[in-house]
Amino acid sequence: MKERIISFIDDKLKQFDPVWLAENGKGGQRTRYRDDGSGIARYREWRGVEDTFQDYTAWLKNLGYMGAMVAKDPIKVMKGIWEYRWMGSFLASFAFVDRIYEGYRGRELDIANIHGNAIVRILTLRIGLILHNDKRLGGGEMTDKMIGLDETIPPLFTAGFPTLNAEPMQTMPEFVVCDVDQHLDPYYIDVAESYGLAPDVCSRCSAETGVAIDDAFPVFGKLVLSTNQPCNASEATSMFQRRRFHQKGIEDYPFVFAMQHNTKNGNEYSKEELRQAIQKIEEVYDVKYDWNALFEKAKNMNHQNQIELEKWEIFATPYSPLSGINESLYKLVEWALVNGHDEYFNEIDDKVIGIMRQAVRDKYVPYKGKTRHRAFLWGPSAMYYTDFPTWAQNCWGIDIVLNMDSTMGHNMIDTEDPEQALEDLAKFSEKGVMRHHAVGGWDNVNAVWEWANRLNCDMVICNDNVACKGMNGVHALLEEQAQQLGFHFVFLPHDLEDCRTIPRKEIRKAINDYMSIVMGEEPLDATLVDFDDAEAW
């Protein structure tokens, strides 16, 4: 009876379902949006009774997390919104979550909302913690027990300081928030450029520099660990940031890793650097490193990585309901931000791998079987176009099976011997965000074909960050390799965090042109081929 009622309602309301509209040539995903480029939808996506109910429940859960953050310390949160330009951008989070999971149904949506809730939960917890302890907003009980980390330093090693709390400096003001609101970082980039910084440097680091010049970093802790991860511009921007931190009475310590991270010499150096960074924290905070505390969190990380390795096996099959931005955004948060510190993410992983195993058993075909190409997304992606993989799936049936950054450190960490753990941690930490395959030599970049073969991809989409000197330097070699090996290969131009240089529409055009001109294919959803979202969050 229940199924019949649901089926009746689904049938009656199908004209509001963009997937049905696209299938029947009556519209598509963009039908429900206003035509003014604002990216504002006139109504929420109708996904059928069950999926809409599930999605709405997840939406309410996100609302609950945000409400809890505000309720915990309403004054600091309000002060934070007043003080920091970037805080305002987080208000676009709801639109962001809706945008990245657009068109998802069934098990893809189940996993997406499990992940989405976990991401919102951890971000609200961390934003709340930072604001509560921000000296500028009055400080809190943890203010002097916090360590500032460059956002690209994997924080697992700080688990050995259970009485301290390590927080990434740039993640909230510049990095994650760019995913949510594409119009924030251009402001900080302009600040840096008006100070004299060349416009051809990496926009992520330019934005970080702008945050430093604009004095928009939250203020906490006694020490900030800067780093050379992932690349040249990161090293360079730290020069500006350290001056700002010093001005706030916070010491800076450069915690560097070997750039050539696959060599014996490099690993030894990174290990020594890690040892020294631990010593530095011990000195500054007058605490002793607790290896047992590290081992406990390392077990979490190992568990996550074991599941990750199993996920890769499932990604190689046609039955994975996890892919695209759903996979990469969660992985990014889980690896780069959580990094074993939060057991809750183990529960999430257990739940998700359960769904994936069942999908394989059921031979479940995701995206209603509309996938035409399986693509590996290589190179660092545009932060201001997080929903690109979703668009590629909905418009052209290109399933982004895996993203380069999802291959970050996945070696297991010894949980008994400190010396071995240090070595494992060094190897693990060297393979961080935007780094594992983007720097350290041609072989690391050239590994793309092995990955693509392993995951049964027929296509490689290579992010072409126009300001990334390292990846620019392998342009022709990659193209020639693709030709030799017979992969469909597309360069996807973008400017990482500056949506003005190459807007989302132009990014889409690269795929549109390739799919229509080179591949001679028709879009799955014609409303997604050419639309304006320049003004959208």
Partner: protein
């Protein structure tokens, strides 16, 4: 002043990488070892039977092949080097020792292996990972990298890399450095007897020519400058230090001097600071360790991240301003250079706002395109320095 005897000859030597002296040395059986960056100690490449060749791409105005491989959004120096490599300009080399100092350089050097543009047998390419700090751990890493990727490879070419050979290389380094330093010191005079352009030529030939063949010319030039009569009145309006990245075109220095400046100090990648400091072997140090320590200590690369090295960059510039009695500093960065884009802005801020030293920031291509715009900038800067001096001393031109 009367022209130096070898000015024209030095200019000719700088017209191409495979110049007359390089060809002569190779014909006589010496092995040519190429490098791009100060992270590769020149001294390690000047062993008995080898000579170092710091790669330049003179007169390279178009880089279609470099653009194809590295894109036109990348460092123009690296594109020009790759262009020249594919054209066959470096076919005299037996090796290229690269450094992962910056991504652009590293990628360019990788192409020496991937597309094998150098037609020479044998030819090897290695790339060291360059440390970002100067502490003991960084030195050990630097030594391991240089030992495995430079010294070992040189030995494979049949070259003696023993302590004795390294000591001979250190002696050679110190002799060249002593000559260049003494020549450079004439720029400290109130009325310098060597121009910035001439010094740039001299410094460059010492980096791109086999030392044993260029040394006689350098010695003779030093003697000539010692006895040189300066112009009765200085032909410049301001003294400046030139700082920046890969400035290997003496025409750039000439352009700056045509605008009324006298370049009295050179603190850039192909300059004498750093590169022509005396190299000491301390007690309990092997010659190899001494070389590595020296190059790490003196290295002023804009990529260093530790506080001592960051401060060293501006401290050295400030000290040079005092030592060479400079009126200001010109800080150059090459287009698409991440490190110098940042360091130019920051050093300029520190020097001008915190240390009261006038600075001029410019961005340029590898070649002298946009010379007109640069001329305007330089003229305005020199005029500004002159006005400042007039305001403080009442004196116009340098006396």
């Amino acid at each position: 002043m009367q022209d130096l005897k070898y000015t024209l000859y030095f200019e000719t030597l700088l017209e191409e990488a495979n110049n007359e002296l390089v060809r002569k040395a190779v014909e006589e059986g010496d092995i040519a070892l190429g490098y791009n960056c100060y992270y590769i100690p020149e001294t390690l490449l000047n062993l008995p039977g080898t000579f170092s060749s710091r790669l330049r791409a003179p007169n390279c105005s178009q880089t279609p092949i470099g653009d194809y491989y590295l894109t036109n959004r990348n460092c123009p120096y690296t594109r020009a080097i790759l262009e020249r490599a594919v054209e066959g300009s470096y076919n005299y080399l037996s090796a290229l020792f690269g450094a992962e100092a910056c991504s652009a350089m590293e990628r360019m050097e990788e192409h020496f292996e991937q597309i094998a543009p150098v037609k020479h047998d044998p030819f090897v390419t290695t790339i060291i990972d360059a440390p970002l700090k100067s502490d003991r751990a960084a030195l050990v890493y630097y030594m391991n990298e240089l030992r495995d990727k430079v010294v070992a490879k040189v030995a494979e070419l049949g070259i003696d890399t023993s302590d004795e050979a390294l000591l001979a290389a250190i002696e050679d380094h110190n002799e060249v450095s002593a000559i260049i330093t003494e020549i450079g010191d004439f720029r400290k005079l109130d009325n310098p007897t060597v121009t910035g352009y001439e010094f740039h030529l001299i410094q460059l030939v010492s980096e791109v020519c086999p030392h044993r063949l260029i040394l006689p010319y350098l010695r003779e030039t030093l003697e000539e400058i010692r006895n040189r009569t300066p112009d009765p009145e200085p032909a410049f309006r301001a003294r400046v230090i030139l700082a920046g990245s890969e400035i290997d075109d003496p025409e750039f220095t000439k352009l700056l001097e045509f605008c009324g400046a006298r370049v009295v100090g050179d603190r850039y990648c192909f300059g004498s600071v750093p590169s022509r400091e005396h190299l000491d072997v301390r007690d309990s140090e092997s010659p190899f360790e001494a070389i590595c320590r020296h190059y790490l200590e003196t290295n002023l690369c804009a990529r260093f991240m530790s506080e001592d090295k960051i401060d060293q960059r501006t401290d050295v510039l400030e000290a040079m301003v005092k030592e060479y009695k400079a009126d200001g500093v010109v800080i150059e960065s090459m287009k698409f250079c991440e490190f110098w884009s940042y360091d130019k802005v920051l050093s300029s801020h520190i020097l001008s706002e915190e240390r009261g030293i006038p600075t001029c920031q410019i961005e340029k291509d590898y070649t002298l395109t946009g010379a007109g715009q640069l001329r305007t900038r330089f003229q305005a800067f020199v005029e500004g320095l002159e006005i400042k001096r007039l305001e403080t001393t009442g004196k116009g031109a340098q006396s």
